[in-house]
Symmetry: C2
Subunit: 158 residues, 2 copies
DNA sequence: TCTTGACTTCGAGTATACTCTAACATCTAT
DNA sequence: ATAGATGTTAGAGTATACTCGAAGTCAAGA
């Protein structure tokens, strides 16, 4: 006899609310979950692995409809190993892109933190404009170049 | 006499659609933009810097309402340098967290890519279950531990 | 002058992912 | 046996960020 987990059990253990789990089911992500005669969802020990995979794909930024595709392949078993590999590989690329984008933003935000500290010391957000050109910090000149490129409509790597 | 850019010019240069620019204006992000007598928005060269800042904050994951707060401080000039510094510093923290989260997901997705390749070679998604325990790769054992923790409802660092 | 294209506002529509409510069924412990 | 907790469904509501359409205004060139 197998031990079953109700939707409430699963919610408490995984931190995914029962509402959300039902929503995922409705969206076709939880087709692997058994039901009792009366319709209650019966989660097994084994169901936690695909459930975990769903959370990983979600936290990686994969939309529900694509997770549904993945779960549909999962249900088909050994015949779809390659397709599922391809999907994970694509998600890997997507993650690298997302991380790259955020790291680019981090560089600019780091600059802004530095710049606002300098501006705060001098009590003037445009202090550098009153400085002789050779005294202006290189970081400011480079940032202004970026803004100029933005204004010129240079092709960007989005 | 100053050169002005219309909303169409700005859209073409920045890649932000005129629709979206008007939406941002309606949401209070573009209060710094002048208007002609007849109501047409007149963007100046200087307006591209706050516009660029808006895109950076957006791409960093900041919601519109918080960008509005920032732009409200921007309009108040030198008196709000410190508050703006604090906001950028918080955004820096947020970016580090987001990058950390994605890097955690990348580790798991990397593992999945490896695992699916192994499974594909053997034509069996559960090949390791038929192996003697000491022949099971350590990576698989570690991943299964993570899934077990997930099932046990261990406190997670979300 | 008239046409054309770009501008304006307002408000409705779309997409995504929940989040909640209502009405009802079922399970469990006293 | 009955109360109360927990389960079920369908469908409505929320939040966010656009995205589009309609109806009208305005400025410049043929």
């Amino acid at each position: 006899m197998e031990k079953y987990y109700t939707i409430g059990d699963v919610a408490a253990r995984t931190g995914i609310s029962a509402h959300t789990l039902r929503y995922y089911d409705k969206e076709g992500l939880l087709s692997f979950v058994k039901r009792s005669e009366s319709g209650t969802r019966l989660f097994t020990k084994e169901d936690f692995e695909p459930l975990y995979t769903i959370t990983v794909l979600k936290r990686s930024g994969m939309p529900i409809r694509k997770i549904r595709e993945f779960m549909s392949l999962y249900l088909q078993g050994n015949d779809t190993i390659h397709e599922r590999y391809v999907m994970f590989n694509e998600q890997r690329e997507s993650l690298l892109e997302q991380i790259g984008e955020l790291e680019d933003m981090l560089k600019i935000v780091d600059y802004k933190c530095w710049y606002f500290q300098e501006a705060e010391k001098r009590g003037d957000i445009n202090y550098y404009k009153k400085l002789p050109e050779q005294e202006v910090d290189q970081r400011i000149i480079e940032f202004n170049k970026i803004v100029d490129d933005f204004r010129e409509g240079v092709a960007k790597e989005d």
